[in-house]
C-alpha cells in the first residue's frame, strides 16, 4: 500500500527557492564569465539527469564528437570527408531515435518498447534541436565562417543551455558562442522585456494552448459523428500548436533574458502570412532559417554551379528543405506528406508570383492583404490537418466524418474558441498594427503594471488545470 510520504514530491516553493538561489549565485559571480558558464552548464546537466541519466549520456556523446571534430577540421587534410562523416554520425544518432520503431523492428527484441534499452525510453529531450546546432557548428567551422571553439565548457553550453535545451530555438553558433564567451549584461531593458515575454508565454501556453488541447484531442481521437467539429478542431489545432510552441519560446526566451542571454525570435505573427515563403519567415524561424542556410542555399548553389535548369534549381532545393523539415518532425508518413505539401505550395506560389510580377492584374497580386491572409490560413490549416492526424485510419475517419453538420458540442467549441483565442487574436492585431512584437513590454507605466498583473490573475484563473507537455519538446 502506498504511504503518504511516497506521494510527497518536490513542491513549487522548493523549486522556486532553488531557482532563486541559482540566480543569486549567477549574479554574484558577476563578471567571472567562465564560472557563470560552468554554473549554467551544471544546472542544465542536472535537470537533464533528473529527467533521465541516459539522456545526458547522448547529449555528452554529441557534445564530445562535435567538439573534437570541430577542433580537427581546420587541421585535417580531408576536411570535407571528415565533415561528411561526422554529420552522418550525428544524423544517424538523430534518425535512430526518430525512427526507433523501425530500428526496433530491425534489431529485434532488445529494443522493444518497455525494455530499459528501448530507444523510445532513451529518446532524449531536445535531441533534434541540439543535433542541428552541432551540425551547423561543424559546417560553419568547415566553411571558415567560424573558428573552432577551444573551450569545452563554452561549447557544451552552446549545445545545452537550459533555456533552449527542450525545444530550441536552434541557435546559430557564431553569435551565440560570442554571447557565451564574452559574457552577458543583465540590463533593465532585458528584465522588462523578459518579464513581458514570460507573462505572454504563460498566457499562450497555459490559457490558450492547454485549454484548446482538450477540444482538439477529443475530436481527433473520436471523429465519429463529429461533422462540423472536425474542421473546427483543425482550426483550433492551428492555434493550439502556435500558442503551445510560441508560449514555450516566449517563456524560455524571457527567462534567458534574466540571465542576460538573447535567444533567437521564433515567431512573427505566423497566421498573418500572405504566402508560403512569408509563413516560413514567421513560423519556427530558427528552424526555417537553418533549413534555408544548410539545405536550401547549398543545394541551390550546387545546382546552379552545375548549370542545372532554373526550374530544378528552385524546385529541388525547396522540396529537399521541406522534406527534411517534415522528416525532422517525425518518422510517420504524415510528416513526409506534410513536408511535400509545403514544398508544393512554395513552388506553386513562387511561379504564381513570378507570372504576376510586372502585371497589374491577377487575383493573388491584387487581392487585399486580408484575402491573402485568409487564403493562406486555410492552406496552413490543411497542412496542420496532415500534421496532426494519427495514421491512415485516423485520416480516413476524420475525412469521412467531416461535414458542415453542427452537433450539440459545436457551440461549446465555438464558445471556447472565442473565449480563449479571441483575446490572442486581438493582441496579435495590436502587435501587427503597432508593427511591434514587444507591445506588452512597451506599454507606458503605470498601465504596464496593471496589464501585467491582470494577465497574471487571468492565467491563474483560466490556466488549464492540467498542463500538457510542450508539443515541440517531442520533436
Amino acid at each position: 500500500v502506498t504511504n503518504f510520504a511516497d506521494l510527497a514530491t518536490s513542491s513549487l516553493s522548493e523549486t522556486i527557492l532553488i531557482a532563486l538561489v541559482i540566480y543569486l549565485v549567477y549574479l554574484a559571480l558577476g563578471r567571472i564569465v567562465i564560472a557563470q558558464n560552468i554554473l549554467l552548464l551544471l544546472v542544465g546537466y542536472m535537470v537533464y539527469t533528473a529527467i533521465d541519466l541516459r539522456h545526458l549520456i547522448v547529449l555528452l556523446l554529441i557534445t564530445g564528437i562535435s567538439f573534437v571534430v570541430g577542433a580537427r577540421l581546420p587541421k585535417s587534410s580531408r576536411p570535407g570527408l571528415l565533415l561528411r562523416v561526422s554529420i552522418a554520425v550525428l544524423a544517424t544518432v538523430l534518425l535512430a531515435f526518430r525512427y526507433h520503431v523501425y530500428v526496433a523492428e530491425a534489431l529485434g527484441s532488445i529494443f522493444v518498447s518497455g525494455n530499459p534499452l528501448s530507444l523510445e525510453s532513451l529518446a532524449p529531450l531536445g535531441l533534434s534541436f541540439y543535433t542541428l546546432q552541432a551540425i551547423s557548428y561543424l559546417t560553419d567551422v568547415r566553411s571558415g565562417r567560424l573558428n573552432p571553439e577551444t573551450n569545452l565548457v563554452n561549447f557544451a553550453l552552446y549545445l545545452s543551455l537550459i533555456f533552449k535545451l527542450p525545444a530550441g530555438p536552434i541557435e546559430r553558433p557564431g553569435a551565440f558562442l560570442e554571447q557565451i564567451r564574452t559574457g552577458r549584461q543583465i540590463t533593465g531593458e532585458r528584465i522588462n522585456v523578459g518579464t513581458a515575454l514570460i507573462i505572454q508565454g504563460a498566457f499562450e501556453k497555459f490559457v490558450v494552448a492547454d485549454n484548446l488541447a482538450n477540444v482538439v484531442n477529443g475530436v481527433f481521437s473520436n471523429p465519429q459523428g463529429q461533422g462540423l467539429n472536425i474542421p473546427l478542431a483543425v482550426m483550433i489545432f492551428a492555434f493550439q500548436l502556435y500558442t503551445d510552441f510560441s508560449g514555450y519560446s516566449n517563456i524560455f526566451r524571457g527567462l534567458a533574458m534574466f540571465f542576460g542571454f538573447e535567444l533567437t525570435l521564433n515567431f512573427k505573427l505566423p497566421y498573418f502570412a500572405t504566402s508560403p515563403n512569408d509563413f516560413w519567415a514567421r513560423w519556427h524561424i530558427s528552424l526555417s532559417s537553418w533549413l534555408r542556410e544548410y539545405i536550401f542555399f547549398p543545394l541551390r548553389r550546387w545546382l546552379v554551379a552545375r548549370k542545372i535548369g532554373n526550374t530544378a534549381a528552385v524546385v529541388i532545393p525547396t522540396a529537399a528543405a521541406m522534406l527534411v523539415s517534415g522528416l525532422w518532425h517525425g518518422a510517420t508518413l504524415n510528416f513526409v506528406v506534410w513536408g511535400l505539401y509545403w514544398a508544393t505550395l512554395s513552388v506553386a506560389f513562387y511561379y504564381l508570383d513570378k507570372r504576376q510580377a510586372g502585371k497589374s492584374g491577377g487575383l493573388i497580386a491584387t487581392a487585399g492583404a486580408l484575402l491573402r491572409i485568409t487564403l493562406m490560413f486555410i492552406l496552413i490549416c490543411v497542412g496542420w490537418f496532415i500534421f496532426r492526424v494519427d495514421g491512415w485510419n485516423n485520416f480516413v475517419d476524420l475525412v469521412s466524418n467531416a461535414s458542415l453538420q453542427a452537433t450539440p458540442q459545436t457551440y461549446g467549441f465555438i464558445a471556447d474558441f472565442i473565449f480563449y483565442v479571441g483575446p490572442l487574436i486581438v493582441f496579435n492585431l495590436i502587435q501587427a498594427y503597432m508593427h511591434d512584437l514587444f507591445v506588452l513590454a512597451n506599454i507606458k507605466m503605470p498601465f504596464r503594471s496593471v496589464v501585467w498583473a491582470c494577465l497574471v490573475v487571468w492565467i491563474l484563473i483560466f490556466g488549464a488545470p492540467a498542463s500538457a507537455q510542450f508539443i515541440y519538446a517531442r520533436f
Partner: protein, 347 residues
C-alpha cells in the same frame, strides 16, 4: 488593412534597471490589490458550493470546543446523507457531520481525523460515507487550498503524519490566500457563465449556503431535469473502462488503518446511497464490484469495518444520482442508526 503586411519587429525601448524594477514591483502591488478584492469577493459571495463547504466543515472542526462521540466523515454524499441532530436524538450520542467533497478523496478523512484526535479524545465511533467514484478520483490540488490551514495544528506537529499530496504545508497556507489559484475552478465557471450569451450577471451575487451547527446540510427540492442528467452521466461513466483506486485513496486507506489501531477507533465505511435506477443496472454492479472487493480486502482483519451494501434509494428521495434530499437523508440516517450505530454501542 495595410498594417497587416510586412514583418513586425521587436521595438526595444532602452530602460534603466530602476524603471524595470518599478514595473516589476508595480505588477506585484497591483496583483496583491486584485487578489485582496477577489478574496473579499469569494468570502462574501462564495461562487461555488464545493470550496465553500470544504472551508465551512474545516472551520466547524477547528472551532469544536467539546469532543463528539460520533464523527461523520466523507465526501459530499456524506454531507447530505447523515443528519447529526437525528443521531443525537435517537441515540443520545453527540455527533458532528464533517463530510466535505469527493475531490479531496479519502485523504481528507485522514486529515480531519488526525486534526480531531490531536485536540480531542478519540471519538467512540467514526462513520465514513463515500460515493463509489471517490475511490477512483485523484486529489484536486486547488481544492486543498480551501482548507483553512492557518488554524490547523502546526505542520511540525502534524507532519509527516499529515503531509499534503504534492505541495507542502507552507505553500498551501499561502495559496489559500490566492483565490485566483485556490478557487480558480469556481471563478472560471463564474466568468464563463457571466460572459455567455445572454450574460447572467445575477450570478455575481453568489449563493448563500448554510449548514446546521452540527454540520447537517439539507436539500429540500428536487430538479427532475438535473437528476435525470446526473443519472445519465453516471450511466455513461459506469460504461467506461473500470479505473483503479487512486494512489491518494490507497495511501488514505493505509493511514486510516494505522489511525484506527493507534487510537483504538471503531470505524465504519459505508457506500453512499444511490438512485435505485442506477444501482440496479448490471453496468453499475459490474463497475462497482472491484471497488467493493478492494475495500473488503483492504479492511479485512483491521479495526475498520467496510459495509459493502449498496443503498438503492427511490428517485423521489434523490437530489442527484448519489445525493439525498432531506427526506431520503432522514431514512438513511435511521437505517445507519439501526444497523451501525446502535449495534456498535451494544458491542
Amino acid at each position: 488593412m495595410s498594417f497587416l503586411e510586412g514583418l513586425p519587429v521587436e521595438k526595444r525601448a532602452g530602460m534603466s534597471t530602476r524603471s524595470a524594477g518599478a514595473a516589476f514591483l508595480g505588477t506585484i502591488a497591483v496583483f496583491i490589490l486584485i487578489n485582496f478584492g477577489l478574496l473579499l469577493y469569494v468570502d462574501t459571495y462564495p461562487p461555488e458550493f464545493g470550496p465553500w463547504l470544504v472551508e465551512a466543515k474545516w472551520r466547524l472542526l477547528l472551532n469544536l470546543d467539546e469532543p463528539k462521540e460520533v464523527l461523520v466523515l466523507g465526501d459530499s454524499t456524506a454531507n447530505q446523507a447523515l443528519l447529526p441532530e437525528r443521531i443525537e436524538e435517537a441515540t443520545g450520542l453527540t455527533t458532528i457531520n464533517l463530510g466535505t467533497v469527493a475531490s479531496l478523496t479519502s485523504s481528507n478523512d485522514v486529515w480531519m481525523l488526525q486534526q480531531y484526535v490531536s485536540e480531542h479524545s478519540a471519538p467512540e465511533l467514526v462513520v465514513i460515507v463515500h460515493s463509489y467514484q471517490t475511490w477512483l478520483r485523484p486529489i484536486v490540488q486547488t481544492g486543498v487550498g480551501n482548507i483553512p490551514f492557518f488554524r490547523v495544528n502546526s505542520p511540525s506537529v502534524l507532519s509527516p503524519s499529515l503531509p499534503l499530496v504534492t505541495h507542502d504545508f507552507a505553500e498551501q497556507r499561502l495559496l489559500r490566500f490566492i483565490p485566483a489559484y485556490s478557487q480558480s475552478g469556481s471563478l472560471r465557471r463564474l466568468v464563463r457563465t457571466i460572459l455567455q450569451l445572454p450574460p447572467d450577471f445575477r450570478l455575481l451575487g453568489g449563493k448563500q449556503y448554510s449548514i446546521s451547527e452540527l454540520g447537517a446540510y439539507s436539500v429540500e427540492d428536487q430538479d427532475a431535469g438535473d437528476l435525470r442528467e446526473d443519472i445519465d452521466e453516471h450511466q455513461r461513466f459506469v460504461n467506461l473502462p473500470i479505473r483503479e483506486v487512486t494512489r491518494e485513496n490507497l495511501a488514505a486507506v493505509a493511514r486510516l488503518i494505522e489511525l484506527a489501531e493507534e487510537y483504538d477507533l471503531e470505524v465504519y465505511i459505508l457506500n453512499a446511497p444511490i438512485a435505485d435506477e442506477l444501482a440496479e443496472t448490471i453496468e453499475f454492479k459490474t463497475y462497482f464490484a472491484p471497488i467493493q472487493e478492494f475495500l473488503v480486502n483492504a479492511f479485512e482483519g483491521t479495526r475498520i469495518t467496510y459495509i459493502p451494501d449498496v443503498y438503492a434509494t427511490p428517485l423521489e428521495h434523490m437530489e442527484s444520482a448519489d445525493h439525498l434530499l432531506i427526506e431520503g437523508a432522514r431514512l438513511f440516517t435511521d437505517q445507519v442508526i439501526e444497523t451501525v450505530i446502535v449495534p456498535s454501542q451494544n458491542n
